[in-house]
Symmetry: C2
Subunit: 396 residues, 2 copies
């Protein structure tokens, strides 16, 4: 994979999870000064690592991210803040960095204190195993997983107008409690392009809005989520401008969309990745609200799990989104088959549409209204028996 | 049961459901002119019977309600409107009433035309079996059920200041897709008190807001819901005023609360009735929004199903409700045990709280914030494997 230059990665087993064949910590280090941008959870109840990182990002030189799973360090009071700072400062000290050049991320159960002894042992292990290769990059992706079934990572490469090659690598975790506004999602993007701090921050916010914030698994928005991007300029020290920055943003958007879809597809118990598109609204926020209402409807999500082309539940969910529209001017497609038009169902072969749901992992719902030209898109997963099993039995 | 005077009830099997041991139609008739008030679904996509009834209620003389299950007559265009009017007019004609003195209610699958032949046979059967006794009243309650496991009805009796006895009887159906703003809920209240039209309408709206609109099962708000009250004055022809009307409203509120809780308790697959109270907010709408966020969180609902006193999921759901509050000034009780106070979890015996969840059908979540004096309450049920089974396998 085309990993960005001058970044090293590690994943480590620090004894936080009970199964030693898994990894439960990760570290990402830039060997040279890096611009940092961040997007954080909007939950009123937020984790100590979020509070600490928010004060350090944006930054013109952030070099290190250290992550632990299993314990989220949320609702842990003053001691939690101290622990989050300690994680960052101990990790920073391994590389002679100031503590403000490092941040910690934590995900897992909330309300428990971090097991600092294990964490510090883990930081030591991570700092000794850091490497700039695919194996380490993927180990870092594994080291941030909670109930994810798959590690999630991807890379991109592009050329600047001056012919230089720049690389972007992203890794993330999701699963459960995923919703817009940064649910239990941790993501770290690294790039060897150079970016001005303000450019990086504004861009990351825009990109998050059309990628990670378009994912909803169960509507729950978690307390611990962070998306952080580090840009170290190791491939080209001149900050991107003009067409180069435009191309970079486009590439970054594609990378983040890919990661976001991986999160939706790996939602707890998911048997389908569902894309909900709502078009023809008076405003983008109207379109988003209707899309969210459909994507979060348990009745829609269970219908998809059951292979049921239930246009009634979809139209019903659109109808209670709180946005006024005329059903008589609406068109609904499921997997490109027309189910509903102008206020009434269309005759369609239910068994054929049902088959198309059952036989494909991806399902598409496309609702077009006659209220305007604004559109929105959300990714989600279906609601299966496994979802309930995972969440009724998860230890508090 | 103290049934109101001069009302007759019937339930009937018209062949709409496949199981002839069930009932699938109901009729309620007032033998004397009745004031009618109504509260209707706020879904943009609404059923034909809702459209027709909205035009006839409030009314100073509505006499008949006829109900069918199995087919909701929603998204059925002009023909649907015609069918809803036909149901009402054919029923009205059996008693020499004008068609505007009758309304139809329908619940069930949407997008299908009513099987009018069966419906008309059913109306004939209903009109011939109407009676003013407990058995008929309960048959009417059974005749409006869809996936409800239990018929839902109750009665009240009170005295006016002039010593007259007045009675209120209510029947309803719920189950699945129940949420504030009148989900797939049908309810008919009958009383032999007399009420002025404006009084009845304003009162019913207020009562619905603190009873039926406090129920949420899965957040989905249906297309077909109606709450209708008929007051025929058969016990006392003088419209209630002063203390009498206050007492009546109080009694009606209790009756509607009882019915609303029955709906929440009978949510699809429910193993717990969950009451969510949020106190200490800056406004009632803030309190409602936070309560709704908790009550509709799939993670909270699966935790309750699993007997897990997971304060983290509850605080997290409160935190993403979109209302600002200080976690440092909050107190959370589950079944009266303190779980969380001032931003941090309290030490509690998890096994004891878990036992109290497992061993009781009712679970109480009480969150007190330090933002003001406004309160709100919602009833919901937990999320079980059965919920998914029912909704993934329900015929579209």
């Amino acid at each position: 994979m085309p990993l960005p230059l001058a970044f090293r990665f590690a994943g480590y087993y620090a004894g936080l999870k009970s199964d030693p064949s898994q990894l439960d910590m990760a570290m990402i280090v830039s060997d040279t000064p890096a611009t940092a941008a961040g997007v954080f959870t909007q939950n009123v109840v937020c984790g100590a690592p979020v509070t600490v990182a928010r004060a350090r990002i944006p930054s013109d030189d952030l070099r290190l991210v250290v992550v632990n799973t299993r314990v989220a360090n949320t609702c842990t009071g003053e001691q939690g803040i101290t622990d989050a700072k300690t994680m960052a400062s101990v990790a920073a000290s391994k590389f002679g960095l100031a503590e403000e050049q490092a941040i910690a991320m934590s995900t897992g159960v909330i309300g428990r204190m971090l097991p600092m002894e294990k964490i510090l042992t883990g930081i030591d292990g991570l700092s000794k195993t850091l490497a700039a290769n695919d194996e380490s990059f993927q180990a870092a992706a594994r080291g941030i997983m909670t109930t994810d079934l798959q590690p999630k990572f991807t890379t991109r490469e592009l050329q600047t107008s001056s012919g230089k090659t720049i690389r972007i690598a992203g890794l993330c975790k999701g699963s459960g409690m995923i919703a817009p506004n940064m649910a239990t999602m941790l993501a770290v993007i690294t790039t060897d392009a150079a970016l001005k701090v303000n450019d990086a921050q504004a861009m990351l916010k825009r990109v998050a809005d059309v990628s990670f914030n378009c994912v909803t698994v169960d509507g729950d928005t978690s307390t611990s989520d962070m998306l952080v991007m580090l840009a170290n300029g190791a491939a080209d020290a001149t900050p991107l401008t003009g067409n180069d920055i435009t191309n970079f943003e486009k590439t970054l958007t594609g990378l983040c969309e890919e990661l976001a879809k991986k999160i939706a597809a790996d939602g707890e118990g998911a048997s389908h990745l569902l894309t909900v598109e709502v078009n023809g609204c008076a405003s983008e926020s109207d379109a988003k609200q209707i899309a969210r209402s459909i994507a979060e409807s348990p009745l829609v999500k269970t219908a998809i799990a059951g292979g049921d082309p239930n246009w009634g539940r979809i139209m019903c969910a659109a109808g209670y989104a709180g946005i006024n529209f005329k059903p008589e001017k609406s068109l609904l497609l499921l997997n490109e088959t027309e189910l509903f038009r102008n206020g009434q169902p269309v005759t369609f072969e239910a068994s054929k549409v049902s088959k198309s749901i059952r036989e494909n992992f991806e399902t598409s719902v496309k609702l077009t209204l006659g209220e305007g030209n604004a559109n929105a898109k959300l990714w989600t997963c279906d609601f299966t028996r496994q979802y309930i099993a995972i969440n009724a039995d998860y230890t508090s």
